[in-house]
Symmetry: C2
């Protein structure tokens, strides 16, 4: 099998240059890159990682189960987790459920049959017992499952405090909160409840909109603006963006007449025509932590905690003062 030295010899460059090209980690001129890539092709160079994996007699496949990979939070999470898994010698299987329990069951079955070595649960709809009775390596993102399945989540308590401070600093008096579906096993509910409690303590009026589906969202938002009494909104990226569209249409001045704070804080809040003040969920750190804990479980090592909590931060952009 060809080695980096063979490629370097063939392309008449240093081994370090070959390494730069194959890892894409530094500047190499177009011409040199072309020579190296041609040598790689001619010698049919195969990196070592697969050979190493094959000897371990595992599938080396890890599933990431999400309801919708096109949701920017999940696509950023998968990108980061896939990279982390790749570096540790694992390949990533997409388990996009589209909220169908049949698909969920199918993916869980693949885990049980050792088609995958482990599973990251981004969201689930099946009863938690379906998961807890499966004796395979799993970690859960943000949602409690039970049994011995560890959770990796962002610090919702911290989010709540930061959001409340920012609302008070902006002197908002009547705020709309878009909350997730309260019937779900979803700890972000905790965040909403805390925000509501704190804001009311400081005399800020809170109107909570529970949204488990995006249907009718446009009408709900129009109705809210027709009432003309709100001066702030808090919610997931896409809900806040819908509100900003309506505010812009109505010529409402942001942030002087109306403030907005998003969370998830995926890149779509940054590329919006008016960059949005947002809680940044630490998606890269969450992905790294989830992969590291899962790898421990796959190696049958002990994990220390049931819950891994990662701090968030506020990025003040142009929708608050």
């Amino acid at each position: 099998m060809a080695t980096i030295a063979d490629i370097a010899k063939k392309a008449k460059v240093a081994k370090s240059t070959v390494s730069l090209v194959i890892n894409n980690t530094g500047y190499v001129s177009e011409e040199t890159r072309k020579k190296v890539n041609e040598a790689i092709a001619e010698l049919n160079y195969v990196p070592n990682i697969l050979a190493r994996n094959l000897s371990l007699r595992k599938s080396n496949l890890v599933g990431i189960m999400v309801p919708d990979i096109a949701n920017p939070f999940f696509s950023e999470f998968i990108k980061a987790a896939e990279n982390e898994l790749y570096l540790k010698g694992y390949k990533t299987l997409i388990c996009n459920t589209l909220r169908s329990v049949e698909r969920e069951k199918d993916y869980l079955d693949m885990l049980q049959r050792k088609f995958m070595d482990g599973l990251i649960i981004g969201q689930y709809e099946l009863p938690a017992t379906c998961y807890t009775q499966v004796q395979c390596p799993m970690v859960s993102l943000d949602r409690k499952v039970g049994g011995e399945i560890p959770i990796i989540r962002s610090n919702h308590e911290m989010s709540s405090e930061i959001i409340v401070k920012e609302i008070l600093r902006n002197k908002c008096r009547r705020v709309v909160i878009f909350a997730g579906n309260a019937t779900e096993n979803n700890p972000s509910i905790k965040r909403h409840n805390l925000i509501e409690k704190y804001l009311e303590k400081y005399g800020v009026e809170v109107h909570t909109v529970v949204t488990d589906t995006p249907y009718h969202l446009e009408k709900i938002i129009k109705d809210l603006f027709d009432m003309q009494t709100f001066d702030g909104v808090i919610g997931a990226d896409l809900y806040v963006m819908e509100c900003l569209q309506e505010a812009y249409r109505r010529n409402i001045k942001i942030p002087t007449q109306f403030c907005a704070i998003a969370y998830d804080g995926t890149y779509i809040t940054e590329v919006n025509m008016l960059p949005i003040t947002t809680i940044i969920q630490p998606v890269n750190e969450m992905a790294k932590e989830a992969v590291n804990i899962l790898i421990k479980l796959m190696r049958e090592e002990k994990v220390e905690k049931e819950e891994y909590i990662i701090d968030v931060k506020l990025d003040i952009r142009e929708t608050t003062r």
Copy 2:
């Protein structure tokens, strides 16, 4: 093994109700859904699809290779392709290259070793010969590879004509085009060249910005606006959004003083504070076609054409008149 009939009996509902719950295809009350899911959990119901696949003695894994799954065009493509593949009994492996040729080589090697049954090439950096010498089922998205690897792409000629008409209808006189890197094996270059040629024929001045990386983009855009002479922009979603941010900061009226037309037309153009007029790339149709052609190749059936071209459409929103 438990069947749908067993679940129906256990949950005391009709078989059709069980089917609605597991496929998530219609309205079922929360209570009934709960009963059905509990029965599924208790009986440890396993859908048939895996059992069928196992008997075929294939990996039933298909790779989708992209430079960045968090890019909304690719995340929407993967979502649609994964769904299509799932329905045909295949699972989807993410091959996120981050433009590293070592990763590309690694994924290609997995294909050669039959770890995957087929590969959808979303972008590649290795010399095309690396692909053409591999005798495995592959299709390419948008980019020519060579050999017998079919291409699935949107109709760039049609895009160009539609964009030019829209620019002329809006009476723009000086337009900026953000073009991809011309050194790439990228047929979207064709689109840019056609647009430039047509617009110049009609006396519209064109300024082309070649952007292979997002670095310095902000400065380039500031400089363009400092020249104060442009009244339109054409480019990929994210480039157009950057321009709109700058136009908004400078209080430039859109679309009366400045027009914008994006392509890819992913959902981020729709949720922007000012919804963006865009060419919609038919990402679902492209994904379906790519999967169907790949499945034919995996079954060793003949495919008819080298190139499959899918029509685009214009969605006029609020950044053109």
